[in-house]
């Protein structure tokens, strides 16, 4: 251990005296920067967007969802068949190799599916795999997947959030070893993972030819963790980084003026919302227990102003606890809370808080949106003090039930199904702070029913109650601004997944 540490120190000292090459088209290296780093690069052991991006670069799923048409296409599985309500059979593609050269077989798929549902695996993305019961090997290239219950959106999950691990390698190195040197079948191979700095990847030239996403173009990819937004912007402006995202609208406008940069924006599935501690676990006398207070908060927020002035771009105000393009997400069932500070004040008065109250609002991102929300709340008499934490810390606080109000953002893991949004936050999982049994029941039914109409009806009931009870204050969907080197070809998708595999230099 110690020797390794010192070896690394020596390497770092060496780097100190080496020369620094700017990454760009000339040396076929795309450097992309983002704010957070996954605590563990294994796609099942982090729930960060940066982790999802890496998961798509180094790993493949069984199924591919075409980002342009929404059609499911064969990926690691060449064909699949619904055997019964809760059983799916897959033909595994032959001739696919993991990046260490071992061929992909049914064993790897079976291992992965069984591994992720085993409690010892400590999977973080529970909501993505909890529907899986078990997997069994039917032949060298044939796998049967048993679901716990009928789960209609199975393919949606399999095409987004269930990457396949190499059995032999993973069993050899274990999770700790795998997190430092992961192996997948994906179009890019992870070269190194350095905590606090980022991940270096190189094109997998042995990537399977028939992949629906095609062969990667750019040779080297480098993911740099730069927590500070202005540092990222400055790095882009000076050419040390080629691609950044989550650029605030004002800065996007300004970057558009720069001749060597391109800026695009696209609406995304990511929704912003406040979770209100309706059960009152944060403190015994939490005003959030009072429905009128929660409604008042909903009326106090200027969603239109937030969406158009602060988030900007394609952002739209939101009243429902899911993203409207998701299956089962019907915005019309939601109670419409229009911006009405007077009504909010009246409701607070009825609730017994004529002079408002003091509380805390927790957040881990978008500080200026939160400040605007604090301003809105202040205007009706609610003095919300900001507690700004890192994501993992906030998640622990939230799951521990210590949070009266939190500002959250949720991208549904790019899954176009309400089970991935409302289903994640209200179905009794660790993230469900509300624990409304009625809502939980409807969501259970909706997630598992085979009849699309039954699913829709139950989602509608759940969403309606969430809205009536004002458990959340849904705010807006995000618009994402990307800024990048104008030598790069890049197309944004609403699922908020930059597809560097499809990118190339001009």
């Amino acid at each position: 251990m110690g020797i390794k540490g010192f070896a690394r120190s020596a390497v770092l000292l060496g780097m100190f005296f080496s020369t620094f090459a700017f990454a760009d088209k000339a040396n076929d290296t795309l450097v992309y920067a983002s704010d957070s780093e996954p605590e563990n690069i294994s796609p099942y052991h982090n729930d960060l967007r940066e982790g999802v991006v890496l998961a798509r670069l180094a790993w493949d799923n069984l199924v591919y969802r075409d980002p342009d048409t929404g059609e499911y296409k064969p990926m690691l599985a060449t064909a699949w068949k619904q055997v019964d309500d809760s059983t799916l059979d897959f033909d595994i593609r032959q001739g696919v190799k993991f990046q260490d050269g071992t061929p992909l077989t049914a064993d790897d798929v079976v291992f992965t599916l069984n591994y992720v549902v085993a409690p010892d695996s400590k999977v973080v993305t529970v909501q993505n795999v909890s529907w899986i019961g078990s997997a069994e090997k039917l032949g060298d290239f044939k796998v049967r997947l048993h679901m716990k219950k009928p789960f209609p959106p199975a393919l949606e999950y399999l095409s987004n959030a269930v990457p396949i691990f190499p059995k032999a390698y993973f069993e050899k190195v274990g999770l700790a070893g795998y997190s430092k040197q992961p192996i997948g079948t994906g179009p890019y191979k992870v070269v190194s993972v350095v905590a606090g700095e980022g991940v270096t990847l190189v094109r997998n030239d042995d990537y399977f030819k028939d992949s629906p996403q095609g062969m990667p173009h750019i040779k080297n990819l480098q993911f740099k963790v730069i927590p500070d937004a202005e540092t990222r912007t400055a790095e882009l402006m000076t050419g040390a980084v080629d691609w950044i995202w989550r650029v605030a609208p004002d800065q996007a406008e300004q970057l558009k003026q720069m001749p060597n940069l391109s800026v695009v924006s696209g609406g995304t599935m990511r929704i912003g919302f406040l979770i209100l501690d309706a059960r009152g676990t944060s403190s015994e006398n939490s005003p959030m227990k009072n429905l009128k207070v929660r409604q008042a908060i909903n009326y106090a927020i200027n969603r239109e102003g937030l969406a158009s002035q602060l988030v900007g771009g394609e952002s739209k105000p939101l009243q429902v606890a899911c993203y409207p393009a998701q299956f089962g997400c019907d915005p019309s069932v939601a109670t419409v809370y229009n911006y009405d500070p007077a009504k909010a004040k009246a409701l607070l008065k009825e609730a017994g808080y004529p002079d408002g109250f003091e509380t805390e609002i927790f957040a881990y991102r978008d500080r200026d949106y939160v400040e605007a929300i604090i301003g809105n709340l202040r205007a009706v008499g609610i003095k919300a003090n900001l507690r700004y934490l890192k994501y993992a810390a906030l998640r622990d606080q939230q799951r521990g039930g210590h949070v009266p109000i939190s500002f959250q953002a949720w991208g549904s893991f790019s899954i176009l199904d309400t089970s991935a949004s409302a289903g994640t936050w209200f179905k009794g999982n660790p993230d469900d702070n509300i624990k409304d049994p009625q809502v939980q029941g409807w969501l259970q039914t909706a997630d598992n029913a085979l009849d699309p109409e039954v699913r829709k009806a139950n989602y509608r009931k759940a969403l309606q109650r969430i809205s009536e009870q004002a458990y959340w204050t849904p705010l807006f969907n995000y618009s994402l601004n990307y800024a990048y080197n104008h030598d790069l070809q890049f197309k944004p998708y609403p699922d908020e997944l930059p597809r560097f595999v499809l990118s190339r230099w001009n």
Partner: protein, 305 residues
């Protein structure tokens, strides 16, 4: 001399233990550690198991003694967040902070010593006051703000220097200036005072009387003597810089121990915080000890006290 040395060493050791006690208490202010390690998924039995496994069920005093024992064997425990031992994390980040501290010290000395000499030689003229103003300005500017201004000017506007990271020495220039400027006034004043003392002393007067050239007197004789206390103070300033580098490392996204500690603070990763605080304190203690010894060697009067 030996007695003095032993006494100072003893005190240094006690201080180190006290600091470790304080940083340990810091850890236990953060709430139930077992729950933090187990993570949100852990059941209460699992948490109990962790509590036993990590020795968290024992009385605090026992835990502290155990922890101290581990620390003495260079085992700083494991990070709650990264899949890595704290020792490895620190070993990989320390060179960056040390490089930054060293370069910042160079910046401070390069600015402060010439200014101090100039101020002493041109005592009570406008040059003296100007030199003092430049130094005082360094103490008045918030270092993070100065750092931002440097980025705007030298990286974004002029494209002279890279913004963030630690790939080459050029990456350290701006952070070192931002960090080093703050230490300038102390060193500058000390140089000035030292120079004035030496210039007024008998042997310089003798040297001058012997007809040595003024430049030679200044640099060969006066400066050398005036700088002795500066060396001692510079060592201590270096210790302060390591502690203060956290803000600068954050601004420049430098992955040193300061940034490591700051990230760890935000993630409740307290084994890391505790280890970094202890490490910086230790470095400071060693440096002050060295400075004291240096002073003692140079100035026998101190030993008697």
């Amino acid at each position: 001399m030996l007695g003095f040395l032993l006494r100072r060493l003893g005190i240094a050791l006690c201080v180190a233990v006290t600091v470790s006690l304080i940083s340990f208490s810091l850890l236990h202010l953060s709430g139930d550690l077992a729950t933090a390690i187990g993570g949100p998924e852990a059941s209460s039995e699992q948490i109990e198991q962790i509590r036993v496994q990590y020795g968290l069920d024992k009385p605090l005093a026992t835990q502290y003694v155990n922890w101290l024992g581990d620390v003495l064997r260079l085992d700083l425990g494991n990070s709650f967040f990264f899949q890595e031992s704290v020792y490895n994390l620190i070993a990989s980040r320390l060179p960056i902070t040390l490089s930054l501290g060293a370069m910042a010290l160079v910046v401070a000395l390069v600015v402060a010593i010439p200014l101090g000499v100039l101020a002493a030689v041109k005592r009570d003229t406008w040059i003296d006051r100007l030199a003092l103003s430049i130094a005082v300005l360094g103490q008045a500017m918030p270092s993070f703000w100065f750092a931002l201004m440097l980025i705007v000017l030298f990286a974004v506007t002029l494209h002279w220097l890279p913004v963030s990271g630690n790939a080459t020495w050029a990456h350290f220039v701006m952070p070192a200036i931002a960090l080093g400027y703050y230490a300038t006034p102390a060193i500058m004043r000390l140089t000035r005072a030292g120079m004035l003392d030496v210039l007024a002393s008998d042997y310089i007067r003798t040297a001058r009387a012997k007809g040595l050239r003024p430049g030679r007197v200044l640099f060969k004789h006066a400066l050398r003597n005036a700088l002795i206390p500066v060396v001692a103070v510079a060592a201590v300033e270096f210790g302060f810089m390591l502690g203060g580098s956290v803000v600068i490392e954050t601004v420049f996204s430098l992955q040193g121990i300061g940034q490591l500690a700051w990230d760890a603070i935000a993630r409740n990763d307290f084994p890391v915080v505790q280890a970094v605080v202890l490490l910086i304190a230790l470095i400071y203690i060693v440096l002050t000890l060295l400075a004291d010894l240096l002073n003692a060697v140079l100035d026998p009067r101190i030993r008697v006290r």
